[in-house]
Amino acid sequence: MEAMAVPHGAAAGARKRPVLAAQDIGLQFGGIKALDGVTIEICSDELVAVIGPNGAGKSSLMNCFSGFYRPQRGEIQFDGTSVIGKSVHQIARAGLARTFQGTHIFSGMTVIENIMIGRHMHMRSSILDAFIHFGRSRNEEFAQREVVEEIIELLEMEAIRHRPVGTLGYGQRKRVDLGRALAQEPKILLMDEPMAGMNTEEKEDLARFILDVREARGIPVVLVEHDMGVVMDLADRVVVLDFGRKIAEGTPAEVQRDPAVLKAYLGEGTR
């Protein structure tokens, strides 16, 4: 995987405006502080990895961004407007896409239909148009199908495009998940543990697709990941969470040397 460590970033010098910015967010479940004063900014054309031990609040942070959780404290700005209090589909329509931990794909549908669902927010035909079918609904369907085919080509899914997703292997399902998120033409892409449960080959494929996507579409990506090799190779910037707090932030190399990070991962050493 070393060969992939192309210096994509280099954005570190020229900071652009943040696409997604969280200010001091706090989220509590009863007495448990899932997130405690986390501040994070993601700029356009940046691949940020969020890492941390189990229960550090990584997935909670993703759920706050996408509107599944509502933080009690703090402010989240996406593309210049606040997302706090907005529903999941409103945030998605504003241009935030995410892939899920495990698989949340529509298993009864084919690969094409799954990705077409991603085009939902770009389609306008009414239920009456659908009833008539010929005309607006049909034309729209063909126009969107063209976009979907581009994504299928990008993710190399030509051979399985008509297969029901329920019959696919895990790695291919994650690919469909990514394709569906891309079909939304998002302004930012959140990926919650995309590599969990994959073998090395599948991981390498997916890592390649993530880099391809960045290259081709220039979408900022937030990656929550456990696999350190992947994180260190792909990320421009790494944010480390532990017990709901941000304990470190920086380039992969900086973070690797950070004593607070070492402590969180390996425990306190008695040298």
């Binding site: 996408s66 077409m116 669902i117 991603g118 939902h120 009833f131 079918h133 063909f142 199908r145």
Partner: protein, 350 residues
């Protein structure tokens, strides 16, 4: 799945429903058969075919709501009834022509269904079933307890036959054609909805509502829409029923009928418009063969009495549903696609 050697070369081709010349010929032959059916068979079978066409409209609606949208609905007969009553009131009290009264009846049913669709927003599964059963009781309660001058109460409502340009649609054959036209339009529309973005939204919400939200689908709106469309179909079916029987009463739209609609969807195959059509044909054929063979059976073994026929009919149909749920939960359409697949691959196993 296409036969071997047939490949799509355009999106239009890839998405079309009729994929080979043979399928087109079969469809045309089938439509011709439907068109000449009343000239070939006796009045009894024409009556059966007419009620089958009405049932098709209602069941296709239920297929969209339950099969596609995943919103289990045991109130389809109530929605059908509200459409029938709305049509009857509009036609008999306000003098609407049938071509306006039936669609407006559909809209009235859609409004009634929409109210229960809103409850589907907050509750799922078992509790939603109970709510739709409540729709059934509410319908009965309203019809029987509203002032008799409104909906006729327990006496029911009767209406004049439909008229088109002075031609009175009151014979068995003419009503059959009226129902055929509506059924063809509604089924074609259902195919359109099923493969539009709305149909996909319904399936998405059924399969995974968390991910649907993340795709920008308004889950609340989609569930309500599934009920709206499903009950609109029920209302159209109800309107046709009103003109077919020319008399509507509450006991034509009971929970029992709702369960039969669900049974047809299950037998035909959940999530397939064609499945709904097949389910209607299969269930109604079983029912009709029992009814027509019943008298002969009673003659052979008179000591069992006439009631036994209807008792056996219900037990048998109940058994059919149970057997399908256990052995073929995805219905006949699923079995059909398996057969097609193995036929295509034969003699190889994959």
């Amino acid at each position: 799945m296409d036969p071997a050697g047939v490949f799509a070369t355009s999106f239009a081709r890839d998405q079309s429903l009729i994929r080979t010349r043979k399928q087109l010929i079969c469809l045309i032959l089938f439509m011709v058969l439907l068109a000449v059916l009343p000239l070939l068979v006796g009045p009894r079978l024409v009556a059966v075919a007419t009620s089958a066409l009405i049932t098709v409209v209602v069941t296709v609606g239920l297929q969209i709501c339950t099969g596609y949208g995943g919103q289990i609905n045991l109130g389809q007969a109530a929605f059908m009834g509200s459409g029938a009553y709305a049509t009857a009131v509009l036609a008999s009290k306000f003098g609407f022509p049938f071509w306006a009264a039936i669609p407006l009846g559909g809209c009235a049913a859609a409004a009634f269904g929409f109210i229960f669709g809103l409850s589907a927003v907050r509750i799922k599964g078992f509790y939603l079933v109970l709510t739709t059963i409540a729709a059934q009781s509410l319908f009965h309660f309203l019809v029987l307890n509203l002032p008799q001058s409104w909906l006729g109460g327990s006496n029911g409502l009767s209406l004049e036959p439909a008229q088109l340009f002075g031609y009175v649609i009151d014979t068995d054959r003419s009503i059959y054609y009226l129902c055929l036209v509506f059924a063809v339009v509604m089924v074609a529309g259902a195919f359109g909805i099923a493969r539009s973005r709305h149909g996909r939204d319904f399936v998405a919400v059924r399969d995974d509502d968390v991910a649907s939200g993340m795709m920008g689908i308004d889950v609340v709106r989609t569930k309500a829409m599934a009920f709206l469309v499903g009950s609109f179909y029920a209302g159209i079916g109800g309107g046709l029923w009103a003109y077919y029987v020319r008399f509507v009463a509450v006991d034509q739209f009971t929970l029992f009928h709702s369960i039969w609609f669900v049974a047809m969807v299950i037998v035909g195959g959940i999530g397939s418009i064609t499945g709904a059509l097949i389910g209607v044909v299969v269930i109604l054929s079983i029912r009709e063969s029992f009814i027509s063979l019943g008298p002969t059976f009673v003659q052979v073994v008179p000591w069992l009495g006439g009631d036994v026929v209807f008792a056996t009919l219900n037990i048998f149909l109940g058994g059919v549903i149970a057997a399908f749920l256990i052995f073929e939960p995805r219905g006949l359409m699923h079995r059909w696609s398996i057969i097609k697949r193995s036929y295509r691959l034969w003699p190889f196993s994959y």
